[in-house]
């Protein structure tokens, strides 16, 4: 493999990771945009999402990577897994908001953030105590179709993951920009009080935000499983923190920024792992997190969606 091939290959890998981080970053950025809360529970909603998707696929009779589907059955199985995972993960998000976070909404300071750490721990340990610590072999019905791009390989699974992410992000953009609910959401992010006075049901909008964010985290969980062929109770923390870095990089509260930030973090991870050393990639990513927050808290694009005093 020439240097160019390695570069192309790592960009393909980075884009796949990036697609996952983008979906995950959207949940952080949307919740932060609307109630200024860093939601640590999001880390493990993602993890639980990957388990839900696994169970759905297993209930369709798919175990491990040996059963391969083609054509309509493949699309059907994956769509079913994606839809049910997003629905259930979204439900978990709404449940968390409703029971643990809504009572804390008017408490100043970091109390709600501490609550989300607690919720995250609870989700983490429910999976640990029920499923166990062993990592799970992930069902993957995708056929091993791939194309040679010079020395680099583009696999079908990557193309599929990119398309799913792009479609979901496109739908989100349409929802936020073009629908009445999306407008209400943007209004609530700008000024909750004013939105309430204009007749926006703020509580519903916040619940909807948690639903969408958590549903996207569930989708990212499915992508994680399909990409790495395993899942485990511990996947939430590292992936979540990288995705959070992506949201910060893109300007927290900014939806477009989160998508771009996710891609950048994905590329940093794959290219950094290739050209520096895998064991240092997290140091690079967390240093980016610290440096951006200290020197450019509105993100590298300098377009934080809104500023509150």
């Amino acid at each position: 493999m020439t240097l160019r091939d390695i570069l192309v290959q790592q960009i393909i890998n980075g884009l796949s990771l990036g697609a996952m981080y983008s979906l995950l970053a959207l949940g952080f950025t949307m919740v932060y945009g609307i109630i200024e809360l860093i939601n640590f529970a999001h880390f493990n909603v993602f993890m639980v999402g990957s388990f839900i998707a696994m169970w759905v696929l297993q209930s369709l009779g798919l175990v491990g990577q040996s059963r391969v589907l083609l054509g309509l059955p493949l699309v059907g199985a994956l769509s079913l897994a994606l839809a049910s995972t997003m629905l259930l993960s979204g439900g978990i998000g709404v449940l968390i908001e409703r029971t643990a976070l809504r009572p804390m909404r008017n408490v100043p300071g970091t109390a709600s953030m501490i609550t989300t750490i607690g919720v995250s721990y609870i989700l983490f340990n429910i999976i640990l105590l029920t499923v166990g610590a062993a990592s799970q072999n992930y069902p993957n019905p995708m056929p091993r179709i791939s194309w040679d791009l010079g020395g680099a390989v583009l696999r079908l699974r990557e193309v599929l993951l990119w398309s799913v992410s792009l479609v979901l992000m496109g739908l989100l953009q349409v929802f936020v920009r073009r629908t009445k609910m999306g407008k209400a959401m943007r209004a609530t992010a700008q000024d909750q009080e004013a939105a309430r006075m204009m007749g926006v049901e703020v509580d519903q909008i916040i619940m909807l935000t948690f639903f969408i964010g958590s549903a996207l985290a569930g989708a990212a969980g499915l992508i994680f499983g399909l990409y790495y062929n395993f899942t485990s109770f511990i996947i939430g923390y590292t992936a979540g923190l990288r995705a959070f870095t992506a949201a910060v990089l893109g300007g927290i509260g900014n939806i477009m920024g989160a998508m771009l930030g996710g891609v950048i973090i994905g590329l940093i991870e794959s290219l950094g792992g290739q050209f520096l050393a895998v064991r240092w990639t997290d140091v690079i990513i967390f240093s980016i997190l610290i440096l951006v927050l200290v020197f450019r808290p509105t993100g590298i694009f300098g377009m934080s969606a809104h500023q509150k005093s």
């Binding site: 643990a100 105590l129 967390f286 610290i290 927050l293």
Partner: protein, 687 residues
Amino acid sequence: MADVSPSPAAETETIPITQPRSFWSALAAPVRWIPEVTRKRVGLALVFGGALLFPIIVRNGGDVDAAANACAFAILALGLNIVVGFAGLLDLGYAAFFAIGAYVYGILASGQVTPPWNDAWQALQWLGLVSRYHIEGAPDVVQLHFSFWLMLPGAAVVAALFGILFGAPTLRLKGDYLAIVTLGFGEIVPIVVRNTPKLTNGAMGLNGVNSPQAFGYRFGVNSTPYYYLGVFMIALLIFISYRLKDSRIGRAWMAIREDEIAAGAMGVNRSRLKLLAFAIGAAFAGATGTFYIAKLTTATPDMFQFPVSVMVLVMVVLGGMGSVPGVVLGALILQLLQSWFLQDLTQWTHALGRLVHSEWLQQLELVQGIELIFGIILVMMMLYRRGGLIPATRRTAALSMTEQAAAPSRGGIGVSLSRLEKVEASQGSPMLETVGLTKRFGGISAVRDVNLIIPSHTVVGLIGPNGSGKTTFFNIVTGLDTPDGGRVLFLGEDVTGLPAHTIVEKGIARTFQTLRLFNNMTVLENVLVGMHARTRTNAVGAVFRPPSTRAEERESREWAIEVLHIFGNRLAPRVNHLASSLSYANRRRLEIARAIASRPKLLLLDEPTAGMNPAETLELADQIRSLRTIGITVLLIEHKMNVVNEISDKVAVLDYGEKIAEGTAQEVQRNDDVIRAYLGRTAAAGV
């Protein structure tokens, strides 16, 4: 208050706080006869007596070992409490400093690093910290065996330095960003440890770390001496925590926690004090690191990951943020849970599983589930008991009806405030002069080219319609906003753009239109924070309390009480009440008292009478008027024109950020521009 119609705020004042008399309080009634100080001392003696006798009574090595570990975590909790509880800085990477302290001692007291010998090591060898080690057929190397007793404070200092290095750029971030940044730091440190195997032996960890030696006795693997050392360290750190909490430093930390902007405007150097809290917290963790790995004789990077930071946070949250006995209790409860209760419970669950033939129950390891309990504790405490098991702030007894009685009075203030620095009226420069002051927000000029002179010993009213830039003007003068143009001269000295706390030191104090009291601090503490710029006690003084510190503290309290008496018996009987429990009018008075406590030459009052009824307003107007006679120059934003007319020597009018008129109250009210600004063009034309 019979002849005054009570305002809604005044009504809440009169509701007495009654405490329900429960079974327990009835049982505790005889104990109440013992004075509180004696009760506390007896309680403390019992606790420490019990702690000292513990290893003799239990005689079980495993239990003493668990207790020694619990001591380490109690010390961590005490350290984190200073950062999170006192100063309100949420640190999610606290374990990083624990790791730094551990590895500093571990590297200097194990065989991991063996640099080649040269004569520079001679001095250390002479001190007994290293020795020359001869290997056949190779050059001699150095063996490091630094003394534990030296490294206990040494690691604390190193960790504190790291705390300062990391904190200096990051501590200005707001709460949740700071939490994330510290979390990132907490992730980076163990990765760096893992990735530098030459120094740290990487993921395998350091082994064979020397155990301490005292009076010729080596601690070794026996837990008892570690236990006693741990108890001693806890006692020391409890003492330090209490001393700091009840000092100028502790009050400044709490002020930052309650309202950072207001703390700065009261003279607290925010960045320096936050850094101090961060460094002290890091020092506690560093010393604990040394203690902990000397006891374990081994250290791996996994011992210092995010879950450790969260566990210490859970201890602090469970016990009560800011509460010293609370966090110790929280640490002990969680360690008890982990070391004893959950293990016993696992045994019982397994037995139950055998009984009902449940495979799952027989294999359930409840100790693994400790983090589930951590999660539940965090959520439940935040939802239902944010103060923790032993809250840091306690409610105070209700006032009697006579203590509460306060009729509006006229005639100004009855105290002389002799400690104020007198400013001679004959000085050449005016008290305050602004030259071409300008501030823009985006495309809007909030303040545009304002020239204003405030002579000494006057009361100047600053009026103007809402949004005319009055508060922005205040913010610029007091250093909360930096101007885009122009200068602020205070007694002839250029103070433009100086930080807020420096401006307070120079002699300008202010109140806020939107009340910014330190709500979870008492009335007295609020006023004492106002003294911050005029007092000098540092952290060392706060802990050791030399005579100079004691004298300063005593004088501060006397001065604070004198200042509170400006308002007769409005605030004086409530010195130990929380600011949040005051009525609206009393909160306004407390803001003024807090500002006056800083012995200002110039006092900026932002709508001091807002929300007061007419009688209270007139009372306050007289009091402001008499501030002038005792030597404080006043600049006042006010909407009530009767107040402005009565007490102002001069009035300036702002409109759309520009000064449109200046003169006596009568002159200004006849000015056409002013009438137009307030009432519109037709009114000015007399139509």
